[in-house]
Subunit: 176 residues, 4 copies
């Protein structure tokens, strides 16, 4: 038996956002998340989410129903907390500490809408050297110049996926 | 488009052990790990490891070469640190903190040989309600009675896999 | 021997920012961090930082030299990595995962300048229900309304400390 | 203002064990924990625990009532979950992930009784290069030789504290 070479790994893209979106644009946010999941799956990318509801479920649904692979990085210890469109649940037992795993395990991150948890994931993604694409999400400005990964604002799902796939293909930067 | 039911999840079994075994029985340990990986894959189980060398690589090799699915939960932020037999690398950025994720993400754990890192994973597995099967690994005794998950000593790879699959099928206990 | 009641806990305030600030305003950032540390210590607050250099060291220096208590939550496993103004080093071994502990262990957070690591801590603080005061740091805007903790922009060190102490006194909110 | 040299840091000793001991020796376990806390405090050591009940509370009580310093590394996000003998609570928000912080933040570890959580902390301590002293706790044996930190069985509280202080003084080993 000879060692078989590693198969080429597909791009891993995390889709992050609110677990229970509300307000006037909640419906649009969920539609966008599902479309982002679909487009990522059709392009051959693996979709990573936090495994629960809202944006996480919609993105996983879009990807799995389009024949894609979906990974859910769960906060608790119980696999069955994953939504029904997660094919590979990873129970971490780390609580909010799992947010670091969601973004570190991806090559690029798409944030759709979102509140404080999403902001923490955007910050952690940049800290770990992952580019972030935002869609109707946080706008971030700083007085200070800095290099490394960047936040890219997308105009819609197709734009978000195109940017994310390009950035994922460039490969992750070093944490910095 | 209607919601598709979740596919039945296969058993997830973590195989833990030394990343660089040495000493007179190192060769046997690695052979056992590869055989455990093979048998788990043939039974349809997903093999989870810490994604690096030694026992982790041998178990992943056995599983992937037998057509199985392999997940590697890495300590660092770089996917490419995974051994070449990991099909799904999960980069956590958590250092030793990833040991908790390795065992929590599994339904049952097989420990083969191993030193201090393996002992920490055995303890964390039991703490999170996962049964542990040992093969030439740590022997643990306590003055105190306790319920919950248990450590099962196996006589060889076939025995280890049979016990692990039975325990994984029973489902994980609650953390306690 | 009778149980002694718990002493009233002083406010815990985390000061976060760049570990190695550069650029035209680096000097001012460090001066502000030292003054924030001084003012917090004089008000009886405990100063928590990530324990390393730059803003973390300047804030710890200001606090310790003013007779205050300083805690440093370190990413690595080596206590001696703490700067010399940390009285109580806590080595976590969690890498970037320690950012969650820095903010969760505080009642309120002051961000001074800062890059991606600081942004991740601001997001995690809000996620864990801690109010954040910013001083020449990130400006965050969202299309979405949300309740819970808020980001308060301060005009200078005195303003930042006054706001932080008021918010810390109100007590932390529930994670949300 | 000149930089003041770091004060010499006292030894940090973690005391770990069951949060709710039961069975015929529960009373003795708690008495031992309190005596270990007293003796550590009288020797000038800082006592670190997981901050909750049982052995954690008894060790903190012994130390605080003897004029010592007590740190509690809590699993949740709420400082007020700490027992009343913890002077410095550190809320981590990491769940069981906080076990890594409890042992990494110490120079040496004393385990008194204990169940699965304690076993996980013993393993993590050894993994992070910290020596462990056991008192009526787990007995661990391995088929494999390994260097680095060791488990030392003590005959009683005085013996446990004497060994722990000696090992803490030797300094922590590198994680391995």
């Amino acid at each position: 038996m000879t060692d078989r070479p590693t198969p080429i790994r597909p791009p891993y893209v995390a889709v992050i956002g609110d677990g229970d979106p509300s307000g006037p644009d909640a419906h649009r946010i969920l539609e966008w998340a599902e479309e982002v999941g679909q487009l990522l799956a059709r392009a051959g990318a693996v979709v990573i989410t936090g495994g629960l509801g809202g944006v996480m479920r919609a993105a996983s649904r879009g990807a799995l129903m389009s024949g894609g692979e979906t990974i859910g990085i769960l906060p608790g210890a119980d696999h069955s907390a994953a939504n029904e469109f997660v094919r590979t649940p990873i129970a971490t037992g780390l609580g909010v500490g799992r947010n670091l795993v969601v973004v570190t395990s991806a090559d690029a991150v798409v944030a759709i809408g979102g509140r404080h948890g999403t902001l923490s994931e955007i910050g952690l993604a940049l800290r770990m050297g992952r580019h972030v694409v935002t869609l109707s999400s946080w706008r971030l400005e700083s007085d200070h110049r800095m290099g490394g990964p960047r936040v890219h604002r997308a105009s819609g799902p197709r734009d978000a996926v195109a940017i994310a796939l390009r950035l994922a293909g460039e490969g992750a930067l070093q944490p910095g």
